[in-house]
């Protein structure tokens, strides 16, 4: 029982973290139809920025994360206007090459700025404790990830489903040219969605630094994991992203716990089989093909 609760709590908090990182990519990919392999780069920059503000400069944990998210979101709009603009409607090859190129530059930049090794992340004292939940004690940090994950994804869902901006975004995902035809500025929508997605990635990178260690090769290391979640979510489907990410989180944690030797290997094989079985996303309705 206690093992099950442990695996579930760790798995769900890990899954929510993956969801925060991936959900922005699900939305932008649904909107722009760009295979963006550089999404993890924004998460890495966010993580490094937050940790850089936290440790040497002594900025409080929460403020450091907020600043990192805002900075990455602003930076991503510049990149979107400068580089991604040319990828809308371009071939997949162009999209892959350009975004891999961005990854390389970010990896090199992070190495030059922070060195080639894993950046040690020191949590503030208040988060490095554990809380007794009755049947077992858990790290406070895990609970924080869980709480932030629920709040952020809940807020995102509200924005997507209940606001005018969300309605426009959904419309553009479903039918871009029709949305444009009724007078919605789709290219501005792209910038907003891109900033939102990159900001969320940065949040995931910063908040998740103790779980997904920050290292220069971060953009490549978590590429497969993030993109698998995106592929299994289908285009622009937030609910599916949440389910898939939590599923991946639980399976990965359980795998590491019960099969320490082949856990992640089994997970990848499972995910590949799932993509081959359901290329439009796990929850996609077959008829929409």
């Amino acid at each position: 029982m206690s093992t099950l609760a442990f695996v579930l709590l760790y798995g769900v908090s890990y899954g929510l973290l993956l969801c925060i990182i991936s959900v922005g990519l699900v939305v932008t990919m649904g909107l722009m139809r760009v295979v963006n392999l550089a999404h993890g780069a924004f998460a890495a920059i966010g993580g490094y920025l937050a940790m850089g503000l936290l440790t040497p400069l002594g900025v409080p944990f929460g403020l450091a994360i907020v600043l990192a998210v805002v900075a990455v979101a602003a930076f991503s709009v510049v990149i979107e206007r400068l580089l991604y603009v040319h990828l809308y409607g371009a071939s997949e090859l162009d999209q892959v090459l350009l975004t891999v190129g961005i990854n390389f530059i970010v990896v090199a930049g992070l190495t030059l700025a922070f060195g080639p090794n894993v950046l040690p992340t020191r949590l503030p004292a208040s988060l490095a404790t554990s809380v007794d939940l009755g049947f077992r004690s858990f790290e406070t940090y895990r609970l924080l990830v869980l709480g932030v994950g629920v709040v952020v994804i809940g807020a995102l869902w509200l924005v997507f489903e209940r606001t005018a901006l969300g309605a426009r975004l959904r419309a553009a995902v479903d039918n871009r040219s029709m949305t444009q035809a009724i007078g919605i500025d789709v290219s501005r929508l792209f910038s907003i969605a891109f900033a939102l997605g990159s900001g969320l990635a940065a949040l995931g990178g910063a908040l998740g630094a103790p779980l997904l260690p920050l290292e220069p090769l971060y953009p490549f290391k978590y590429l497969v994991l993030v993109l698998v979640i995106v592929a299994l979510s289908g285009f622009g489907n937030i609910r599916a992203t949440l389910l898939v990410a939590v599923f991946v989180g639980i399976v990965d944690t359980a795998g590491r716990y019960f099969l320490p030797d082949s856990g992640s290997f089994t997970l990848y094989v499972l995910l590949i089989v799932l993509i081959v079985w359901r290329p439009d996303g796990l929850l996609a309705r077959r008829a929409r093909r």
């Binding site: 090459l97 992640s264 290997f265 990848y268 995910l271 290329p279």
Partner: protein, 326 residues
Amino acid sequence: MSAITSPLLDRRRLRPRELVWWLLALGYFFVFPEYLAVATSVLVMALFALSLDLLLGFAGVLSLGHAVPFGIGAYACALINLAGWHEAISGALAGGAIAGLFALLIGPLILRLSGLPFIMVTLGIGAVLYEAANKAVWLTGGDNGLPGVTLDPLLGVFRWSVLGQTGYLYALGWLFALFCLTRRLVASPFGMALQGIRENPRRMQLVGAPVLRHLVVAYGLASTIAGIAGALSAQTNAFVGLEVLSLNTSIDGLVMLVLGGVGRLYGGLVGAPVYMFVQHFAREWNPYYWMFLIGALLIIVVRFSRRGLIGLLDDLLARARQRLRR
């Protein structure tokens, strides 16, 4: 011959310009006898990029896991060799055949996909095989790799020298043979069908072409060639390490091809030497500057020179010709 069909059928004819590359490759052997080992790995990567060109440039299939057949060919060839079969040519063929068989097994499943799911699956299979090779220490040696590949004299005559003369000519011979084969292939009706699929798969389906079967065959052939390239790397380095299966290898091959020019057969042959030359010196300078350089290069290629170096060369030649005419 009508004007419309001629550019396609032209591919069959050898143009004098093409001979330049092969003469340079042969000339290198005599001019730089002390740098043959590096040049041999350039030839191997050129062959790898050529196999990717068949897949990407002609069938329009973008795989981010082309290191998979390369690595399988390398490991298969090394294992056969270590088991006691030391003949080189059949060893390379066996490596290619096993890589090709693997591709024929997974091809029918994954080639139904396109776009992001396909890219993801190829990336994922690469990651899984890398992990598997890392874990299966009893088979692959894990991190330590498989050292000690030894070969009988080539054709029973040419011994494998320390400076790598035999290795260089051996790799060049394979590259030439497989290049001619690929050239024939893309000019054949099958090659035309592949290019049709690249341009518009749905329309090809409508005119009755067996799209999936064509793609599987193309994937199998490209993987066989990539497997032979991997086998050559195992034989000429006398060693196989994990990096043959890594994402880096896939991306290296892709960048070399794009740098030279996609869909022109010579893309990899031009791209590989340029890429590896720049890489060699940039890495000596600072390994991270190399990553900046390659990242910037990729962005520049996408933004300004989609036809690669060969396209650039074509443009320059055309301009020079115009000036001469004036």
